[in-house]
């Protein structure tokens, strides 16, 4: 059978930024093998960046510089582009789309991406008798509009823009370049009502006027004056304004006619579900400005990109569970040299909403944040947007804000970080592990890498200890002008399996997948990804415990040979020594091993243990045998150890028995796999000698027979004092609450996310509600999971001198000839 005959027909109506983007996403998912793609495009060209039209108008870009997909692109990808042909009708029962010429085009799947057109408010004298716009009246939506405006503007004296929204201001900016007197006529009380409140709008108006643009507010245009061409405007209040041309930029309306004509549900736009499908017809999708999702319509590109990904996932079958949940709208732009950032709502909506505000009209600076439940729900920055990257991220991710609100608006007394990226010298080293400079990151962005992950992969920035990742991401964002592309894999648990952690856990349990190779086979299309293996192994062990089918190759070398690899390929061996407590018999054995195997370095670790460094791989099983002590897990992404101070037995300040607690903790959690290391400590009094307050999990004895439980502390590449989770009355209570938190972290943290990141991401209140107050009703299950993991513990050193594979520890294999 002809292979081509198997392909389905995919028709896309619309070749603008939404239509072309969705096709790109489909191609990226192997869609070319599934579909023959045909696109209707009303304009005679390929897809161009509509956002840059005002730059074409003001001459800073040439027309051919704004094309995203030139005509050759369609040829290269075997896409049939019907350029200059508008789709005029749709027959759903026959699955046909009709072009204006009456030519039918059959489809199996249809995507409507018709975008929007300029809304023209009712005004006398807008059109001529034949319905065309009066000479001198323009809209500003396409390259063709751009050309017509430019040719008319030559030699004219003044222009009026009707509409003081973002597009109107951009048009005004373009027109100023022709030497015209430019007026903005706006019906509302302040400029950019979608993005600004009255206070910010007033400051923007002053800034515009300082640049020579005249702003007329609360002016309702009732008539465009002039018999056969524009001579001026008349307002409802009786006033007039002379001008030679008018640009109407009073909002947009979705192009939904083709959908309404065949019975699809249309409200303000074409209604779609979370898969971007019309509810009436499972084979028809809509995307972009023409689509209405959960009552919302979006006119910015970022939401469109998110929609395009979900649509492509769904239509190609790559991920039929993909869902679009709506977008949080944030935008950063420059209007006539004035920098503006805006996100979410512009006014408080409930009496509890907290408003933090700063205004300095003289310098054109305005800042306003709206905070609900400690999280950012709205914000406006005008003039000074140095905090925009941080705030937009906090808004988008819904992360809790620091208590000190002042720092949200200003960088006060902070060390070097406040040097803006523009001021930062190119040779400043950003990643201190891999020696990557700001200049190298910017060069990488300029070479085409547009997402933090792509830049990190290419430059290795952030791939060492990871503490600079946030800064690398900020620099990438700055270098892209805020238009970073999000790599979808940042939401996956591991990059090689396209599922978030909850989705992945569900799939693993439902399909009973107990080995890493089974996960790749059934959830990643059989494609192995080396970097994803250890994360999967860790999760499978957490979920299946004793039933997990261990595959050595899925583990990082440390976990394969239960020791920590060193720079010369030798290993370090750390026996278990909870609380830092040892005895003469153990010390004798350690001394004996150190001499017998010529261990080059014996050293105390930061976790109060003894480290034997420089051991050859071949000697590891013999060393363990001679030590006859359990593994201390000093090599794993797992529970490491619990250190302790002297506690109440000897210390004259001791309030609680921290040593016994440390021993119990080790017995409880030893060998647990987890998303990252877990380092614990117990302290017998608040002097905190064992540093329990800066551990992943810590317990500090306080007066009254109680223990404070700390979580999310860090004192490594990041430094953070932990948050107090709660107080506990006994060792048993401490163990139970620590266990619940640890299990919740194991189930919900991303791979390689330390507890300090996890606690900050979720917020201590949320974690406390789940772990202590059992708000989600899962506490009992978490306790049970811990008990099962504990029961499945096996010391990996125990039988290692009888390895299943006798080649496991051989550093060199013999050859036959």
């Amino acid at each position: 059978m002809d292979a081509l005959a198997d392909k389905k027909k995919l028709v896309v109506i619309g070749n603008g930024m939404a239509g072309a983007r969705v096709v790109e996403e489909i191609l990226a998912r192997g869609g070319a093998e599934q579909f023959d793609i045909t696109m209707f495009g009303e304009e005679p060209t390929g897809n161009y960046n509509r956002i840059l039209l005002s730059n074409v108008l003001n001459g800073s870009y040439k027309e051919d510089e704004i094309f995203l997909n030139p005509l050759e692109w369609y040829q290269e990808h075997n896409i049939r582009l019907l350029a200059g042909k508008k789709a005029s009708g749709l027959l759903r029962r026959a699955k046909l789309v009709y072009g204006e010429d009456g030519q039918p085009e059959p489809y199996d799947k249809l995507i409507i991406a018709t975008g929007s057109h300029a809304f023209i408010p009712p005004m006398e004298g807008t059109t001529m008798i034949d319905g065309t716009l009066k000479p001198g009246v323009f809209v500003f939506r396409s390259l063709d509009d751009c050309r017509q405006i430019a040719s008319w503007a030559k030699g004219k004296h003044s222009a009026a823009v009707i509409g003081g929204g973002l597009l109107g201001l951009e048009a005004a900016r373009g027109l100023q370049n022709f030497g015209l007197d430019v007026h903005i006529v706006h019906i509302g009380g302040h400029l950019m009502p979608q993005q600004l409140d009255p206070g910010a709008g007033a400051i923007l108006k002053s800034s515009m006027e300082a640049l020579g643009i005249k702003v007329h507010l609360q002016k309702n245009t009732s008539q465009i004056i002039g018999p056969d061409r524009v001579l001026g405007l008349r307002f409802a209040d009786g006033g007039t304004l002379e001008c030679d041309m008018v640009i109407i930029s009073a909002g947009i309306k979705a192009n939904w006619e083709i959908a309404a004509g065949c019975g699809l549900t249309v409200e303000r736009g074409i209604v779609v579900d979370d898969q971007m499908r019309t509810p009436d017809d499972p084979d028809i999708y809509a995307v972009g400005e023409c689509a209405q999702h959960r009552g919302h319509m979006y006119g910015l590109v970022a939401p469109l990109w998110e929609q395009a990904k979900v649509l492509a996932d769904h239509v190609t079958g790559k991920n039929t569970q993909a869902a679009y949940h709506g977008s949080k709208v944030a935008t950063k732009l420059k209007v006539m040299g004035v920098e503006v950032a805006s996100m979410g709502i512009v006014e408080p909506q409930t009496p509890e909403d907290e408003v933090v505000q700063f205004s300095e009209p003289k310098r054109g600076t305005y800042k306003k944040l709206i905070i609900r439940d400690g999280r950012l729900v709205g914000g406006i920055l005008l003039g000074d947007i140095s905090k925009a990257a941080y705030l937009m991220q906090a808004f988008d991710r819904n992360t809790p804000l620091p208590e000190e609100r002042l720092h949200l608006l200003f960088d006060i007394g902070d060390p070097p970080k406040q040097v803006t990226f523009a001021e930062m010298s190119a040779n400043v080293q950003v990643c201190n592990c891999n020696g990557v400079s700001k200049g190298a990151i910017v060069a990488c962005v300029n070479a085409g890498k547009r997402s933090p992950k792509a830049v990190m992969d290419a430059t290795r920035a952030g791939m060492g200890c990871g503490s600079c990742k946030a800064m690398v991401a900020d620099i990438v964002g700055w270098a892209c002008g805020g238009e970073t592309e999000e790599d979808p894999s940042v939401h996956y648990y591991v990059p090689g399996v396209p599922l978030t952690k909850p989705e992945l856990i569900r799939a693993i349990l439902e399909r009973s997948l107990k080995s890493v190779s089974a996960v790749f086979d059934l959830l990643a299309g059989g494609k192995e990804d080396a970097a994803s293996k250890p994360g999967l192994a860790s999760l499978l062990k957490t979920l299946w415990k004793g039933e997990y089918e261990d595959e050595k190759d899925a583990r990082f070398i440390n976990e394969r040979v239960h020791a920590n690899i060193q720079k010369d390929g030798t290993f370090s061996v750390v026996p278990q020594m909870p609380g830092g407590v040892t005895n003469p018999a153990q010390l004798r054995r350690i001394a004996f091993v150190a001499e017998k195997y010529h261990v080059p370095l014996v050293k105390l670790t930061g976790g109060q243990r003894i480290d034997l460094l420089g051991i050859r791989k071949d000697d590891l099983p013999k060393v363990w045998h001679d030590l006859d002590m359990p593994s201390g897990y000093a090599y794993g992404k797992s529970y490491r150890t619990c250190k302790s101070c002297v506690g109440s037995d000897f210390c004259r300040f001791g309030l609680g028995d921290s040593i016994t607690l440390a021993l119990k903790i080790e017995q409880e959690f030893q060998g647990f796999d987890s998303p990252h290391k877990l380092k614990l400590a117990t302290a017998g009094c608040p002097r905190n000698c064992s540093e329990a307050m800066v551990k992943d999990v810590g317990a500090v004895a306080v007066e009254g027979g109680k223990w404070e439980i700390y979580i999310g502390g860090a004192a490594g590449s990041s430094i953070r004092k932990g948050d107090i989770l709660c107080y506990a009355d006994s060792h048993e209570e401490v163990l139970k609450l620590m266990g619940r938190f640890i299990q919740y972290y194991r189930e919900n943290a991303k791979y390689l996310e330390r507890t300090h990141g996890f606690v900050v991401r979720l917020g201590i209140e949320r974690i406390r509600a789940i772990v202590v107050e059992d708000s989600d009703g899962i506490a009992e299950r978490l306790d049970r999971e811990i008990a099962e993991s504990k029961a499945a513990y096996k010391d990996p050193w125990k039988d290692a001198w009888l390895p299943e594979n006798d080649k496991q520890f051989a550093s060199l294999l013999p050859i036959l000839q």
């Binding site: 992969d457 990804d529 190759d553 899925a554 070398i557 690899i565 390929g569 496991q808």
Partner: protein
């Protein structure tokens, strides 16, 4: 070019690598879960990491020391312009690894 018999393929567990000394040279040989074999120089060109201890996924290898990535088919590093020396290697009908050098 000489042919060397390195022994049975199952000396290398699936998805892992092992080092062989062939005359004066150490060579890391890998056997993927898909059944392919690859052979490259034993040490990472960056800081001499033991490549046979790395993580393997398909033909991509991650060095255990600093996570440099290589394509074992070509020896090419996936970032940076350094590469690995590669050797022709196969498994014969009696499941023996044969290396050409």
């Amino acid at each position: 070019m000489n042919e060397f018999k390195l022994g049975p393929a199952n000396n290398i567990p699936p998805g892992e690598g092992r080092v062989y000394r062939v005359e004066d040279e150490k060579i890391a040989v890998f056997r993927t879960r898909g059944g392919e074999v690859y052979a490259v120089q034993a040490e990472c060109p960056h800081r001499g990491g033991p490549l046979a201890d790395g993580l393997l996924g398909g033909a991509t290898l991650i060095c255990p020391l600093h996570a440099w990535k290589f394509d074992l088919k070509t020896g090419q590093a996936l970032y940076g312009d350094c590469g690995l020396k590669t050797f022709s290697v196969s498994i014969d009908a009696s499941d023996q690894i044969i290396l050409f050098r």
